[in-house]
Symmetry: D4
Subunit: 172 residues, 8 copies
């Protein structure tokens, strides 16, 4: 999963975000895209975050995925240092249900975008898919795998639909 | 700007969104990226939206930018039809201040991402920058122009800082 | 329940919505109205959602009930394809407590309505009652059953009131 | 517009709601459906509201449209008295931007539905369309007019799209 | 507690509200004020709610306490029928955390007030205290008991403060 | 209006609140209830606020009406010092639309109630009506005037309803 | 911990806030700053709160930390009495998730600041750090301990990062 | 005002924030505290923001005041680099009314505090007062000026109260 030439870097503000952010890594692996992941805090370890961003630029990642909760500045701090697409995943880590992280990520001012996904696991999974879509703009193999991934989603929904219809028919 | 081979498609739910969404076109033009734009409503003209999405996939856009207000489904409807990165811009078009459009765009369920930008003009501008960052992953010329664009932002902030410091020094 | 000529179609974005949406089916059955239900995702299976909508129009359902969570586009996507009344039920499926689904359903732009019910089980139950009220505009038998259903609600509230008064009188 | 046999009744909490609620009347007239409208306050004139509801039931309206702002109880109060479909339109009438009216209308408890539309003019217009869709379930002429209404919306979007594309082509 | 001449009436939309609303009864009993309580739904049993309100007016209650969740119309519906002070308690009964009930109660339009308390148990308790304060404007015995009630609160806070200080001093 | 023996005291956090709070005074005057009003800030002039509260208790006001915006603590600060019913009016005085003042007033903890009215003018007017309802529990003359006040509201709504119906009949 | 000359006073509205607020004391102790803590309610024991504030001013605390939930007025009430920096910690103590306490603390009107921290434990911890930063402006020993505290945070994040990277490398 | 040895540094994300942030400078000047102000964007000019923070630490400011709107990361980014108290002022700069900036500033994770003030002008003014309170912990002259500043506020409120009472007495 963290092979020689990762094309996507995942960074999160705290190791407690990993159960959510691992969804992103898992999708990337399914789509055959090497990635690596680490922890860096925009506030507690700003130098580490910056060094990570500079390394990301040097390594030529096609996309960066950032997960953070609360006043989730990590995405903005990374995006300020690189010209690589940065994808942000708000984590529901405080009593405010992730609304704090969502607004801290999505409301980036003009000039420095962070592409915001949904709060939590669905967002982390979609960050992986979106990174793959970026890579697929210049990599047909990934584009093909994405197409298959989507076809499998269609099949899965159809199976679930049939299973539900069957349960209802039985009056369950 | 809308030259022979546009690389980014902009679509919006209503022509009243253009004063906001034109920011995206304007940034893309500054960065030397050809684009085209049109109107299609997910709800009033679903067939048109779908046809536009299918054409977008055929034309091989590197990114799609979607602006919509209220129950802003257009981004999701387009994203459901293509495997191209879709960038959504929530428009503040109802009494709810754009919170409706923001949640309708950002909270996409797992599997089909839409990359959400900030509500309104800042978001539209950033959609253009983000599309350019996607293109730059495989196009060094765009990457160079993005680097210059950012350097100009730095210079602009520094000029404004000096102007403000001067005004304060004069006691204005 | 899913007899030969269903008059109401229930569709939901995920089979995990069924524990909520089954309330709608349950009320319809109580009111003697045949229905059928399935799963279709606006985003993962747009063609399936569209095909379902077209079939719904052909079958002449009197009403369609749609349950969805997160960026709940399914109601809008179905409503865009049919001229049948579409009733939406927001599902509380993300950390944002269903506010995302609520705004995604209720804030439909002018021209294509979705009739939004409350978030969760109360909304699903009311979707069933509302579909029955639509049918009752042209079906006296259903109107009579609705009148009885309401009379039973009155009786139930009165019994509960007496039980509570009795408990209080006993100092419980 | 308020001909001999109105099929839809419009009621609002205050005459200051009419500039919004007239959208509903206007759509109904376009669709050839007779309607009548008045003012009744759930709180200031509860007897009037009740009498209106009882008359509505007697007159056999196919649908009732209720507009109200603030703690918008009128929809619930009317729905409690009739077994006719009640459609609610939240009005943005306080500093809270219509969120108060929206939640007061949409969050109806199980058993007595009110079908909630969007806040403001889009919601009022859609209330008219939705009432027509209810009528159309048993009136082919209205169904045909609804189909034409939608076709005109499609044409209108397409014209606006062409106009915008032309403006962009001219570099405006 | 529900002695011959109750001076406060408590009514709630559902018997499931009693674990919250019993706080109001409990405070009233502590303050030596007779009360009675029942269930009536503004939507399911409007006639019952109205009859209860009319009886309340006849019985000459000094205050009415109303608890309700979701689209909490019961307070407004009662207040529309009486000229007795009505105190509303929003119940957290839906996924929206009681914000729906709060706005449905507090945002009453000009002319017909409902005095809104906090969401949940604190609000129910305060409804009891507030009803006692109303009665105390013309009943010195109740005023004296209220003064004692407050003095006991002061003593309780002081005891808890000392207990906490002691725990901290011990390094717990 | 501020005659020899005022029975209601109005206090507000800033003189800029008077255009809103004058609604309360105006209703009280209509209902023949003497009142007085002043400014005291819970934060800038806590001693003044306290002295005012102590005087209010001595003077034997039947009710206190408090208007405040932002972190609206004045109601709680006054309520902490008296055993008179305190009615709070949230003022929309910051970019947060009065939601800050509303929650600061309504969410009082158990033991010390503040009766919260709607945000802004409707709330100020209702504070006056509610104070009158408190007085009316022991003053038949005020009760009679309240009954007339309500009858006039009914007549006013009916007149407006007729005027609107007439305008619609003329096709305006 | 509560040594002879405490430099920071911690006060909270209820002893149930201590599991949150103890984080502040704990950080202060780690940084070698003596503190004391108690309970005082702005509403139930206003005289106690005031007396505590006056004592705080006399004792010359360098900072005051206030924790409160619901309509969290305690910070404002203390700040109104002293000219010492007051730091507020919103507690999530009601169904509204701490949004009520947050707005009640942060939205202080011009003239009397309360420095608001995050809702809950992170806020309580940061209140301790912030108080230490205030002390450190004139106390080099505390400044040095703060620098070490931060260095330890950096080390901790780096260790967690390595541990996570190792887990991922093992495919856990 | 921006004399040789400023003790407070003000920094803001954009020169468009100055009309708000000048309130902070203005209060500091009134209190005889030298300050300087500039513009630095956390996202557009991260190196400038960092350099400014490092200089601030070297210059030994007693406090830093940071104003920012939207995803307001500047406060966190500065706080991550210094061990000086950082005070944040949320600016209402987007359609979301400053809620985005508020949550981005106040919800700082454990370890790195930013002291959040109210949204907008009141917050900027209070940032100045709070910085003065920090300085006053070790500077009696500033403490004395703060005491006078507060006394003037008391006098101002009292004058306004008398003026309002006079207007009311005249029936204005």
């Amino acid at each position: 999963m963290t092979s020689a030439h990762p094309r996507v870097g995942i960074v999160m503000g705290s190791d407690s975000d990993w159960p959510i952010m691992s969804e992103a890594g898992s999708v990337l692996s399914q789509l055959g895209i090497a990635w690596e992941a680490t922890v860096a805090s925009a506030h507690r370890t700003p130098a580490r975050a910056r060094a990570w961003a500079e390394a990301a630029q040097r390594k030529g990642y096609a996309a960066i995925i950032v997960g953070a909760g609360a006043a989730a500045h990590l995405g903005g701090v990374i995006a300020a240092e690189v010209n690589i697409p940065v994808i942000g995943v708000p984590i529901d880590a405080t009593p405010l249900n992730g609304l704090d992280a969502l607004l801290s990520i999505v409301q980036m001012p003009g000039g420095i975008p962070v592409a915001c996904m949904a709060v939590g696991k669905a967002g982390a999974r979609n960050a992986g898919v979106f990174a793959a879509q970026i890579i697929a703009t210049a990599d047909r193999a990934v584009a093909d795998r994405l197409a298959r991934y989507r076809a499998e989603m269609v099949a899965e929904v159809e199976q679930k639909a049939q299973a539900l219809e069957a349960r209802i028919a039985k009056g369950e």
